[in-house]
Structure formats: structure tokens, C-alpha cells
């Protein structure tokens, strides 16, 4: 699985994603600087990492989407390559309109850094195949603007098409207001596009992929992707 981690000015989880893909998962991984372009065929997986691209100065993710590398990301998206946006990467995907909706600042206006419980609601995606439907996993969040918003129609559509992948919940899997750290509509923590190749999520799977960090729930996401890609390669290879 050939992986790319895009480096926007202000990205800061780029090295963490690189570490997991390359050291933990053992996959060939490259950084792509925001001023560079690439071809859709260059990578199987493209990661838009967390951070504060352009300082999040206008709106989180608003400026990054105009970088040259994002043109290539758009083309790769069309070509069906797998793309995951984590935290700021999710915000960029929303601003780039690769995913519907928008992000607002957290409802209590504070940055939140702690572990959350998530219910995995859709396991029929390239990113979540190794989870069980309805399973409760634990991942860290670290964001100031993770308050997902979309109008009622969009939400209805997302639900109807089973595109809400992760929701904030409590330890036992109840999706409640009390378990919602940022005010997101319907406790949404991660969604996927209609074609099923672009995932955006606020929690950080790359921060929960090694035993020493206290949780490996995030590693299964990367393993799911690997399984999907390798399976496909094998089929195409024949």
C-alpha cells in the first residue's frame, strides 16, 4: 500500500500519521508538500493530517484547500483512491466540498483534548471493515472546531445512505448529549462520501495505534484500509 501524507503549512499531525503508516504498519509512505502535485495513480491512500493549516486563521481548513496538492487530491478522489482526512484534514475535506457540511467552533468555545468513545455505525467501508457494527471504540480527540453542522436535509440523506461512520457515545454505546464533546449535530464524529472512498473524522486514530499509547483501537482503521487495498491489488493483479 503506497501512502501519502500531505503537509500543509501548519499541519502538525503529519509526522504522527507518517510514523503509524511507515513504522507501525510498515507501508511505503511519502510526505507530499502542499506546493507539489502528484498523479492519481501515485498513491493508494492519501492522508490529510491534523494540525492548523494556515493557522486556521479564516476558518479551519478554508485556505488549505486551494493549495496545488489539493488539486491532485481532487483528481485522486475522482479516480476512486482512498482518502482520509483526520481532524484538520476533515475540516479541509469539508471546505473542499469533498464531504458535505461544515465545522464550527466547539459549543463551549474550548479546545478539547481527551479520549472519547465512538460507536462504529458503518463497517461496510474500506476504512472500517475490521470493526464490528455498533462496536464502541476509544480514540483521542484534540480540536477546537469539531462542531459538525449540516442542514436537516443533508443529515437525513447522510443517515439514509448510511454515511455516518462514527458517532460520539458513552462507554456503553449510548449516543447522548452528555457524550457529545463539541456540539456536533447527531453526535457526528466521522462521515464518508457517497462513493465510499473519502472518510473525514475528528478523532485521531493515529494516536491510538500502539500499545504504549494506551489504545490500539485506531490501528484497526489502518489495518482495514490495508486489507482493502491489498485485496483489491490482488484481484486487479490477476
Amino acid at each position: 500500500m503506497k501512502c501519502a501524507v500531505i503537509m500543509f503549512p501548519g499541519s502538525n499531525c503529519d509526522i504522527d500519521c507518517y510514523h503509524v503508516l511507515s513504522e507501525v504498519m510498515g507501508q511505503p509512505t511519502e510526505y507530499v508538500f502542499h506546493k507539489e502535485k502528484f498523479s492519481p495513480g501515485d498513491f493508494d491512500l492519501i492522508v490529510l493530517p491534523g494540525g492548523f493549516s494556515y493557522g486556521d486563521y479564516l476558518r479551519a481548513g478554508a485556505i488549505a484547500r486551494f493549495s496545488p496538492a489539493m488539486d491532485s487530491v481532487l483528481k485522486a478522489a475522482e479516480a476512486g483512491r482512498l482518502i482520509i482526512g483526520i481532524c484538520n484534514g476533515f475540516q479541509i475535506l469539508l471546505e473542499a466540498k469533498l464531504l458535505p457540511g461544515a465545522m464550527k467552533v466547539n459549543k463551549d468555545l474550548k479546545f478539547h483534548c481527551h479520549d472519547v468513545f465512538l460507536r462504529v455505525d458503518n463497517v461496510e467501508t474500506p476504512f472500517t471493515g475490521l470493526y464490528k457494527k455498533g462496536e464502541v471504540i476509544r480514540l483521542p480527540i484534540a480540536h477546537g472546531a469539531g462542531n459538525y453542522y449540516a442542514d436537516a436535509q443533508t443529515i437525513e440523506k447522510l443517515e439514509a445512505e448510511n454515511r455516518i461512520v462514527f458517532r460520539y457515545c458513552d462507554r456503553s454505546g449510548n449516543v447522548s448529549d452528555a457524550a457529545n464533546p463539541n456540539g456536533s449535530v447527531k453526535n457526528i464524529a466521522g462521515i464518508i462520501n457517497k462513493q465510499g472512498n473519502i472518510l473525514g473524522m475528528m478523532p485521531h486514530p493515529e494516536r491510538a495505534s500502539e500499545d504504549i499509547l494506551g489504545s490500539v483501537d485506531g490501528k484497526r482503521l489502518f489495518k482495514s484500509i490495508l486489507r482493502c487495498i491489498e485485496g483489491r491489488t490482488t484481484i486487479y493483479g490477476r
Binding site: L58, R59, V105, N106, L109, Y149
Partner: protein, 81 residues
Amino acid sequence: MINARIHVRFKSGVLDPQGTAVKGALKQLGFENVVDVRVGKLIEVKLNVEDEKDAKDEIKSMCEKLLANPVIEDYSFELSV
């Protein structure tokens, strides 16, 4: 030279977390008459353009492309020389 003052704010119907917080604070300070508060952004742009219509078109395009996010935000602007 034309100066543009662009206001960007949440669309009505979109909950504004900052506005809500400010409203709460104002009430606590005794400003009982406060009914609603919306917090937005003011962006000032200096344009090297003479014609007002050109300026208008350009600002509008800026707003739609970058300065406002139409999913959650509305914008308005005024121009001055």
C-alpha cells in the same frame, strides 16, 4: 483605491456558539433587554480598482470562494473610496 468592509456571520438558523456565550455573559452583567447576539467577522480589503462595479464583482467572488462558507455563513459588504 476602493475599500471594502465585508461582514461574515452565521446564517440565521445556524447555532452560533460565540453568540450564545456572549449573550449569556451580557445577561449575567444585567443587560436584561438582550434578546439575541450574533458574533461575526469583519474583513477589510483594500482593492486597487477604480470602478465600483468591478470592485463589487471581485469582492463577491472573494466571498463565495474563500471568505465565507456558504454552508453556514452569509456575507454582506459595503464599499467606500
